[in-house]
């Protein structure tokens, strides 16, 4: 009986093999995952084509496209041209997002808490351990800070969000640069680990007096409170969409470098300091599947800006999209080809 069921299952599986929709698979960054899910869902509705995106972290995106296990990888850590040549990958940006420092302190609302950039580093290094520490209190005279231990929540997987966040911290704190450094996965001196932006959000919700860092879409969707932090020049800046856009304006893309660019700490009085583009990685030898992938992103560039804005991302400007389309053409992977 069981065998018969199993055999039927196999038979069905082989039978339906021929009735398949066009299908591509991607994996990687959790930073843009809410948007890619949305795009893929709407793309499927519109065209019947399936894009299976799995959020496993940027490290996973780089690894799995590098090993050619998925059709495209996604990473918010851009790879340098040399590395791309070595791994035989193409790279282009898909959307811009922002990393916000989120906290769960009962009684303290969104953007109310001000954190100096170097204090953020100290908190995530475990040097500032209580919420009413002098360093925090002096910037927040109007808040009643609780004498509670800070629970740091960081990523346990290889993460582009962590890369950009640690890049930022390394530039604002010498201690951080010397003791922790920059990377997708770090040796954290304190806190608990969670998988993905999703995991951090899940734990932050459940853990009072905790602090974490997530892409803005996760903050927006879960109505977290995020800290007001400092621009490159030390001015207070709220974690607000207009300030992300102000920073994103400074982006300058170079297709010859495969768009390699880190957007953190841009100049300007309103520029939120931790803004990052998220990138798509394609295997150079897979021309045919690459065209299917670029077709998806071409569609998303045309039809997906509204989704992006609704979720809290910053769509790429038209000029950048045109630049990316030219890049596809140059490498013979544009969808119309």
């Amino acid at each position: 009986m069981v065998k018969r069921v199993a055999l039927t299952a196999i038979a069905t599986a082989t039978f339906t093999l021929s009735l398949q929709a066009e299908r591509i698979s991607g994996a990687g960054a959790s930073f843009p995952a809410p948007l890619y899910y949305d795009w893929a869902y709407d793309y499927h509705k519109a065209t019947g084509k399936e894009v299976n995106y799995q959020s496993i972290g940027s490290g996973g995106g780089i690894k799995q496209v590098g090993s050619r296990i998925v059709d495209f990888g996604a990473s918010d850590k851009p790879l340098k041209p040399k590395k791309l040549d070595k791994k035989r990958l193409y790279q282009f940006p898909a959307v811009i997002g922002s990393i916000v420092v989120v906290y769960n302190i009962p009684g303290i609302g969104d953007a109310e808490l001000r954190l100096e950039n170097k204090d953020i580093a100290d908190i995530f290094m475990g040097k500032i351990r209580y919420w009413d520490d002098k360093a925090i209190a002096q910037d927040n005279p109007h808040l009643k800070l609780p004498h509670e231990k800070i629970t740091v929540i960081h990523r346990s997987d290889g993460s582009g969000t962590t890369f950009n966040f640690s890049y930022f911290l390394s530039n604002v704190s010498e201690d951080w640069r010397n003791e922790i450094g920059v990377g997708k996965a770090l040796s954290w001196p304190t806190g608990i680990g969670a998988k993905g932006n999703e995991g951090i959000s899940n734990l932050l919700k459940q853990t009072p007096y905790s602090i974490g860092y997530v892409e803005y879409a996760y903050k927006k969707r879960n109505s977290f409170s995020a800290a007001t932090i400092q621009t490159k020049n030390g001015k207070w800046v709220k974690p607000a969409e207009e300030n992300f856009i102000a920073a994103a304006k400074y982006a300058s893309w170079d297709p010859n470098k495969h768009f390699y660019q880190i957007l953190a700490l841009q100049p300007g009085d309103n520029s939120y300091p931790i803004v990052a583009a998220t990138f798509i990685l394609l295997p150079r030898e897979k021309n045919e599947t690459n065209k299917k992938v670029t077709a998806f992103f071409d569609w998303a560039f045309k039809n997906g800006d509204e989704s992006a804005q609704r979720l809290g991302y910053i769509p790429l400007p038209q000029s950048t999209k045109d630049m990316i389309r030219a890049y596809w053409k140059k490498h013979n992977i544009d969808p119309s080809n």
Binding site: V2, K3, V5, A6, L7, T8, A9, I10, T12, A13, T16, L17, Q20, R23, S25, A27, P34, Y37, D38, A40, Y41, H44, E50, N52, Y53, Q54, S55, S67, R68, I69, V70, A194, K195, G196, E198, G199, S201, N202, L204, K205, Y218, R221, N222
Partner: protein
């Protein structure tokens, strides 16, 4: 004498209390599963596939079908292999060194960490093939299943009286016929139960699927593709921050738990009926 009585009473109380504590925790978990799962179950779950958080048309259809296929194919590989191997041990190998060695090895395999099997299958069936695929997931589950089926088959065939075999030999039947027609018939109930329990066991495994069949947001029956499963979906959804996903995670847990328990109950009922 009094001391003895007192110790007796104390020990009996402690045992009863520990039993009660243990049972309370276990039923607490079962209750959570039932109430959370029941709340989250709706017909939508069987109609729609997994969708981005916040969408109306969101369900678990792809994960349920994927799970059935993965477990079905694993059973298709694991059951015949397990039964054949068990038959060899009981009917041919008997107490030979080789047979006992295989018995020992399958005991070890039975308790091997499932995540390590996942890593092994990734190295053998995912990396060389070039994409996550359902076959790899099924293979990982089959590897876990074979030793269980092997050992129960071995044990059950051993229970078949020798006289039955001898009577059949006396009639001039060849060995394979004796095995297929006499021995298997005698051990049928036991083997079916063992097989059912092994299906229940692998159906609840998550770790071997994480790196093999991976996950898929779409409905698929193609084993060459990444394939969704209830367990991996539960893992992803339960660790997400989205209420609707977490609810779906509980619904998946409820469906899976009911399936596993249901198969277990059927398996036990078969043995009982046979005994009675």
């Amino acid at each position: 004498m009094r001391g003895r009585k007192a110790i007796n009473a104390l020990v009996l109380t402690l045992s009863t209390v520990s039993a009660v504590i243990g049972l309370i925790f276990l039923f607490w978990i079962l209750w959570t599963l039932a109430s959370k799962g029941f709340d989250a179950i709706s017909s939508k779950i069987f109609i729609y596939d997994t969708a981005p958080p916040g969408r109306e048309e969101s369900g678990l259809r792809n994960a349920i079908v994927g799970q059935l296929i993965l477990v079905g194919v694993a059973s298709g590989i694991g059951i015949p292999l397990g039964i054949l191997a068990g038959t060899y041990l009981s009917e041919y190998g008997k107490n030979s060194k080789f047979a006992n060695f295989i018995r020992d090895i399958s005991d070890i395999m039975m308790s091997a960490p499932s995540i390590v099997i996942g890593a092994f299958v990734y190295a053998v069936l995912v990396a060389p093939v070039g994409h996550f695929n359902g076959w790899a997931g099924s293979a990982a589950l089959a590897i876990m299943m074979i030793p269980i089926v092997l050992r129960t088959t071995d044990d059950m065939l051993n229970l078949v009286p020798t006289q039955l075999r001898e009577a059949a030999y006396a009639l001039g039947a060849p060995k394979y016929k004796v095995i297929l027609q006499i021995v298997y018939r005698g051990a049928k109930a036991g083997i079916i139960t063992g097989v059912l329990l092994s299906i229940a066991r692998i159906a609840g495994e998550t770790a071997p699927l994480l790196f093999t069949s991976f996950n898929n947001n779409f409905f698929t029956t193609d084993l060459n593709e990444a394939m969704p499963s209830l367990t991996v979906t539960m893992f992803n959804f339960a660790t997400s921050p989205y209420e609707d996903w977490i609810d779906l995670g509980w619904a998946a847990a409820f469906i899976l738990g009911s399936f596993v328990l249901g198969v277990n109950i059927i398996g036990r009922a078969i043995v009982k009926k046979k005994k009675g």
